[in-house]
Amino acid sequence: MTSLALPVGNFRTGEARTCDTTGLPVCLHAQRFIKLNAVCAVVALLVGAIGAILLGLTRWPAVHLLPADWYYRVLTLHGINMLIFWIIFLEIAILYFAGTTLLKTRLASTKLAWTSFLLMAVGAVLTNITILQGTADVMMTSYAPLQAHSNFYLGMILFAVGALLGVGNFFACVWIARRDKTYQGSMPLVAFGALAAAIIAVVAILHGAIALVPTWLWSLGLMDAPDAGWYRLLWWGIGHQSQQINVCAMVSTWYLLATLTVGAKPLNQLVCRSAFVLYVLFINIASAHHLLVDPGVSAGWKIWNTSYAMYLAVLASMIHGFTVPAAVEVAQRKKGHDRGLFGWLVKAPWANPGFSAFFLSLIIFGFIGGITGVTLGTQQINIIAHNTLRIPGHFHATVVGGTSLAFMGLCYYVVPLIFRREYAARALCRLQPYLFGIGIVLVSIGMSFAGSYGVPRRHWDVEFSGAPFAKGFDSGAHVMLGLMGIGAVLAFVGLLTFILLTVHAVFLGKRNEGRAMTAW
């Protein structure tokens, strides 16, 4: 196949460049919005990281840092900045990249992109200010009848509408790419995965709107309190489905990083694509696992939704969990790293932070996140795990050790390729994914096993100090909480290292315009 040196596609003159490293076309408008969204993502990550260490040091009973009110305030701040702002800002950046560069098309609308970005940024700032003012200690789920100041909901709604417009812009890119026939055959797999994520995002955000708009009106005194059971059902329509967006985005990132770092390519297009379709079709149903002890829904409903339908979405993750490392193995063996069972893995580019972040993400997501997730999602078992620290133990392996770590790996390419600045302190960059990865594994394991001893999540003082009779947890639980605390310190250092390296690279890094990026 011939190499394409000039930006082909439907670009207008002066609005695109050819990437000096990959040869891919880059729409300059899309590039601006990739940068803006990525910078906001990293700012949110910083806010969330400060929350993370404060929480880690509060849940570690030997330290017990924050007072009760600030524990819940910071818990809200951490959950929202991490799970929503960091992840979604970066996902919108990924959509702009996948929707333009991979499809060789220009950004559909600059105005829409500005509107989307401004709404998201204003929404995020408004929500954060409201939380820090102490008028929204409702945690990220904001379960009614807990009530926050109306600006909390307003900020979330603005953010969600902004994200929806960004998703719309992506669909428009797909549409004009098809119209102008900018690519042949079917779209590349990474773009296909992004499309799956975008479709789920629409359904998710609609649920969010139905849950949050009435709640906002209620906080303004314009409506009665929404029904608590109704709110929980709808809220998880966004809460769970956004996790599937994260999985889709993470898996797409895995495929992309596998290609960028070891030259792997998908083994079987049909299988990989079908797996993304399974996500779109079945993930909605799996939201039921959040309501397994909820009195408002019937046992039959719970059993159907978590015993059969959920496994079709799990199947999709298992397919990707196989095809991604398999693609790496095949690529590595073709390069001659063919010794024994694991020669390909031993000889992998572990010093390339794009690779190590990607592969650690795969392992953490599969071995810890996947196994705990399927177990916790089993209706009967849920009764001994619900609302214990096992739940955050699980999702710190999926959305943190999995998605967030993969996204960090992606940044090690986005900054040199899109911002066209090089990372400095390369040795530290190489170390960073390990620091963060090992830290978050300890956090996750510590939380999971402390939870198995019965330690609740979202609980300020598991020692129950001042209670009329002594009540507390077994020393085993304390060992596990200590493990979590140590892991939190390590993961925080890893996270801060990433943020400092990235901010430095973006603003002060050596420019690489006109030449290929320095190989990792």
């Binding site: 196949m1 990437c19 490392p325 694991f342 996947g370």
Partner: protein, 55 residues
């Protein structure tokens, strides 16, 4: 970055390859994952059975 540009790889992504794909390491990793799952899942049912007696 290794030699061929990404753009070429993405073009070639659609090429079908003959069945010379060998991935025994991945198969072992997957088997290990399933084994871990079985152990953890079983331990959880056991823990449940210990507190929830069926009479």
């Amino acid at each position: 970055m290794s030699d061929p540009k990404l753009v070429d790889r993405l073009e070639r992504e659609r090429d079908t390859e003959p069945g010379d794909h060998k991935m025994p390491g991945t198969v072992v990793l997957t088997a290990l994952l399933l084994l871990c799952f079985v152990v953890y899942y079983f331990a959880n049912w056991k823990a449940l059975a210990d507190v929830w007696h069926v009479r």
